[in-house]
C-alpha cells in the first residue's frame, strides 16, 4: 500500500512548487496556469486517495472538481481576453 501514499506526498510537494509560480508570476495569465496546474495535481491526488482509503467517493469528487475548475478557467480566460 505504501507506493500510493508516497505518490500523493510527492504530488503535494509539486503543488507547493507550482504555488511558487502563483506568487512570483509577473502577469495574470501566468497565475492562471499555475492554478490550473495545482487543480490537475489535486485531481490526480484525489484519484490515488480513492485507492488509499478504499473509498470510491474520492474519485467522484475528483470528477466534479475537475469539471468545476474547467468552467472557472474558461471564465477567467474570457475575462482576461476582454470578452466578458
Amino acid at each position: 500500500m505504501d507506493q500510493w501514499l508516497i505518490a500523493v506526498l510527492i504530488l503535494g510537494c509539486l503543488m507547493m512548487l507550482a504555488a511558487v509560480r502563483l506568487i512570483l508570476g509577473p502577469t495574470g495569465p501566468d497565475r492562471v496556469i499555475a492554478v490550473d496546474t495545482v487543480n490537475t495535481f489535486t485531481i490526480a491526488a484525489m484519484v490515488i486517495l480513492g485507492v488509499v482509503y478504499q473509498e470510491i467517493i474520492f474519485v467522484d469528487v475528483a470528477i466534479v472538481y475537475g469539471l468545476l475548475s474547467f468552467v472557472a478557467t474558461l471564465y477567467v480566460a474570457k475575462y482576461i481576453g476582454g470578452e466578458l
Partner: protein
C-alpha cells in the same frame, strides 16, 4: 500475484510522478507564458494519465481477484476522470492562450508571430 501488481502500479505511478515533476520544473524555468503553457499542459496531462492508469490497473486486477464490483466501479470512475482531465486541459489551454494573445501578451524570443501580423 500481489507482488506483481505492486511492481506494475509502482512503475506506472513513478512514470506519472516524474512527468508531473518535469511539468512543474518547466513552469518554473521557461521564460514566457506560452512556453510555460507547453510544459504544464503536455507534461501534467501525460503524468496524470499514468497515475490514473495505475488506479485503473489496480481496480481491474482486484476485481478479477476478489470479484467485488466495488473495484470495477473504481476502475470505471478513474477512467472517466482520466478522459475528462485530458479533454478539459486541452480546451482550457487553448482558451487561455487565445485570451493572453488578445490581451496583448506576445511570445518572448519569438522568431516569428503570424497571428499578430494577421490581426494588424
Amino acid at each position: 500475484m500481489a507482488a506483481t501488481l505492486d511492481i506494475i502500479t509502482s512503475a506506472l505511478l513513478g512514470i506519472g510522478v516524474v512527468f508531473n515533476a518535469l511539468g512543474v520544473i518547466g513552469l518554473l524555468r521557461f521564460p514566457d507564458l506560452y512556453t510555460r503553457m507547453h510544459a504544464t499542459t503536455k507534461a501534467t496531462t501525460f503524468g496524470s494519465i499514468f497515475t490514473s492508469l495505475a488506479v485503473i490497473v489496480y481496480g481491474l486486477a482486484t476485481f478479477i481477484g476478489k470479484s467485488d464490483t466495488q473495484y470495477l466501479t473504481l476502475a470505471i470512475h478513474a477512467f472517466l476522470a482520466m478522459g475528462m482531465l485530458a479533454f478539459t486541459n486541452a480546451v482550457s489551454a487553448h482558451a487561455l492562450a487565445r485570451a493572453a494573445h488578445r490581451s496583448g501578451q506576445f511570445p518572448a524570443q519569438a522568431v516569428c508571430d503570424r497571428l499578430a501580423e494577421a490581426k494588424s
